[in-house]
Symmetry: C2
Subunit: 602 residues, 2 copies
Amino acid sequence: MRTDVTPTARATAWLSCLAEALAGSDVGTAMSLFGSECYWRDLLAFTWNIKTMEGREAIGRMLEATLAATAPSAWKIVDGATETDGVVEAWFTFETAVARGKGHLRLRGDKGWTFLTTMAELKGHEERRGAMRDNGVTHGAFRNRRSWLERKRAQEAALGRTEQPYCVIIGGGQGGIALGARLKRLGVPTIILERNARAGDSWRNRYDSLVLHDPVWYDHLPYLPFPDHWPVFTPKDQMGDWLEAYAKVMELDYWTSSSCVGARWDEARREWEVAVERPAGSLVLRPKQLVFATGSYGPPRMPKVEGAEIFAGDLYHSSRYVGGEEHRGKRAVVVGAASSGHDICTDLWEHGAKVTMVQRSPTTVVKSETLMELGFKGLYSEEALAKGITTEKADLLFASMPFRLMPALQIPLYERIAAQDADLYARLAQAGFLLDWGQDRSGLMMKALRTGSGYYIDVGASGLIAAGEIKVRSGVELRALKKRSVLLSDGSELPADVVIFATGFAAMNGWVAQLVSSEVAEKIGPNWGYGSGTRGDPGPWRGELRNMWKPMAQEGLWFHGGNLALSRHYSLYVALQLKARMAGVPTMIYGAPDGPGAAGPD
Amino acid sequence: MRTDVTPTARATAWLSCLAEALAGSDVGTAMSLFGSECYWRDLLAFTWNIKTMEGREAIGRMLEATLAATAPSAWKIVDGATETDGVVEAWFTFETAVARGKGHLRLRGDKGWTFLTTMAELKGHEERRGAMRDNGVTHGAFRNRRSWLERKRAQEAALGRTEQPYCVIIGGGQGGIALGARLKRLGVPTIILERNARAGDSWRNRYDSLVLHDPVWYDHLPYLPFPDHWPVFTPKDQMGDWLEAYAKVMELDYWTSSSCVGARWDEARREWEVAVERPAGSLVLRPKQLVFATGSYGPPRMPKVEGAEIFAGDLYHSSRYVGGEEHRGKRAVVVGAASSGHDICTDLWEHGAKVTMVQRSPTTVVKSETLMELGFKGLYSEEALAKGITTEKADLLFASMPFRLMPALQIPLYERIAAQDADLYARLAQAGFLLDWGQDRSGLMMKALRTGSGYYIDVGASGLIAAGEIKVRSGVELRALKKRSVLLSDGSELPADVVIFATGFAAMNGWVAQLVSSEVAEKIGPNWGYGSGTRGDPGPWRGELRNMWKPMAQEGLWFHGGNLALSRHYSLYVALQLKARMAGVPTMIYGAPDGPGAAGPD
């Protein structure tokens, strides 16, 4: 390893060696450029899949299978490379036979360590933006010219009636809207089905005090970032208004008060029959592609509890909680100790209820301020922007880190957090609250990626618990309900006028079971989690989130979702996959789909 | 003049000499740094006015009067300076006692030629954006906390009823909306009165074929630029939708279906009484500041024509024209040959009417494509953006050019245009159309700044006129109407089923006469034009647009308007003036207000 050469020169030299090897179909040389520990993560560019190859052998197998069709070329380091602790980092661009790509590499010594290749746009199917944008009007004079509004109205009247959409998205929250915007810009006719009356109602209909727990820099939608006065944490009604305005100005074909009530894959015609109910009546849509963007979770999980029928108070799932006003002065029991459980406890306390949280298992808690400072600041913050880390770069940097390496990077972060907020954690423990840092002490983000549950970003509840203002009963289950109380698994009894189950949601493919069939739901298998082998996310190791944003075992079926950041970034890849299929671009998929019986990655 | 020194070093040296002179109150030295021909244009920073000082003596007088209060400091060249044809150009920042500023300078040799100082923000009253943005939620737990929506609803219910706005803006088009957004971010309580039912209706209600004639790069609103797929020329309904979404997400206090029916200055209380009619009833608002943002023009100018009462066809002003469908196959006469006259003629032709344009005086015509290429590309285009000329920089560069110098820069541009499109002009002349390039051959933009009339950016009508598809009768007036025809001033008669007066609008202060009083309208005098001494814009020379965006002879009264670009840029200065007054920041105005008897600038 020569240290007298600049990082940019070293990255350039390495990349040109790789380029030469790939151009010559010399897989062996390409493999030899990587170190003994190495990762190549590909988002569509080589694999038409979302896939991490771990180790030289896996990289070699992938290249043997994909290199001829991919025909990569035009590799070029862009911006200056940097070096930190012996690791050189660089951005690059490249092309394939059908696409232009962006990537990121890390070298340790002179060997590749992490390598990210992503598809950015399809050649010949670029978005019409910047210098390629539409003119908006055809200059000249044309008899019976139709105005923008007339054309828009005619298109809206035809779509779904006389002309079938290529794609239907079930769910018009941020996931459906972000994907819908990408598809609109790519010219993929798409209908978004939203059961609520207005875009944004999926936020507006939640409890009054709900505010995004992630900061604004992490939450932008594609194309139209929030203006720079937007608050750090967006209140839910403001988010609703933003989504509604966004759907309007991005000209999405967004059907409100429209519920999908069933969907069937027509194998002969290779298209979906999607039954839709709207106020004006029922109709059937026949798209080639069907996307579930029904939220990061499946249907609400409402445990069956003995005695529910004799309980005299209010009893419901957290998804139906709208605010504490009606519970003023009442005795409330909240079952569940993750985000919504904490938020609802605080909201009830703020409205003067007497609140007890039933905590069934330990929770990872991190103060919001601490998470902003130690967790988000590097990629998503004003400081990051000032360093030139745009939202797009932050998304790609996050994507550049293979799942295998993440826990080891997260563990020291949570050690720092534990030390910094030791006082809060001591007081929570003192109050009887069960804390954990995840099975391998890798903290909140890994829990989010593994199961999406079991954590709370503290915006106020933890102080109330520590102070005894919110009582906590830990390590117990709710066993039964009586007329005015709940019975816990340790035999104790709590008086209760209202019981709220903040018990989370079923798996996302619960929606597929409900709307398509249990056979299809079983065939595709569960979503989310990456086979970490930790509780709730069993192996085998997959190295990527299951069934998210990529081809599944059922043709024409897709899951899109995740938080605002993942919805933003991965909507690009879902959109490119759909556009390629519509345009007839060959999309040879490398790697078997996830499924209940599928092995891990090769 | 030393040429071995970089442009940046020369600009830095010059600016530090100026800074030293100003810091030492040495007006004589400051004057000596400028050349014999020199201009200092100030937007608020020194003068709390919009004012161009022409020549060393005028600069000296301004400095004598303002230097002590302004206390300028911290002058600093930013970005690299450039040199072209012996002129060094540089950007700089500076501070005053109360504000931070941005500026631009041009040196010829070692002497100042043009010097622009603009106020960018008030110290202690900065917009809460970027790292200063609101948190959106107060972390912690608070009894009876009110949500964002509850606070917003309470504030909306109070404003104008139990709490008076500091400012009322009459007119909710792009001018009122842009200014409203600035005031919102500065925390100035403001109500925007819009007579239509929805924001954006001022565009939607115009004729169907209307499309912006200026390109998208020129048309952004503050804070929230159009996304990059937005068409070059925005169709009017799309513009309407954008304005509606913008007003919503910027949280403007925007009162729809609300008309101002009268306004009176209460001298004793030094506030306005503004009578408002809304569907729910009438009410009176009592703001300290009243802004007319009723459009770039005053009320429609509808000539009284003999025989109007016996004309059997349709007769109306262009502002009421909504589309040609109802005139299919009819004989139409359009009086007026500026933008709306041309657009309406084309729209009628496209709908199959037989159209004659009555052109009373010559028109400046430029093809849209040619104007984009030769007029806009340098400042407002993808090419300009690629060179780092952001919208803000483009606005400041345009502002940096004093009115005195503009015609000489415009004349050669129109000579190029005349040569490039010589064929079109020959064909138009052949068809009897009267062309001109303005009194001093300075073309379209100077006409826009002098009178806002007499030009057409060709998007299709000129080809129809050249081809004889739209007939033209030039150099004549409409003399009288008969039952089914019009009589022209040359004695000829034209059959007519419909007559449309595209005869423009009265002066902007016609709205003041109508809503406040003719006395106040006379006291402030007319708006627009800069005293060029050309037709419609009589002297004395003023060097700035009359009564636009700056203090007038009536306390608490302001005009805001102009096209989208001017509305965007100058809304900043109107907003800063209002904020300063609300906050009690001293605003000593240098220079007498415009008015009918006012002399030119000193």
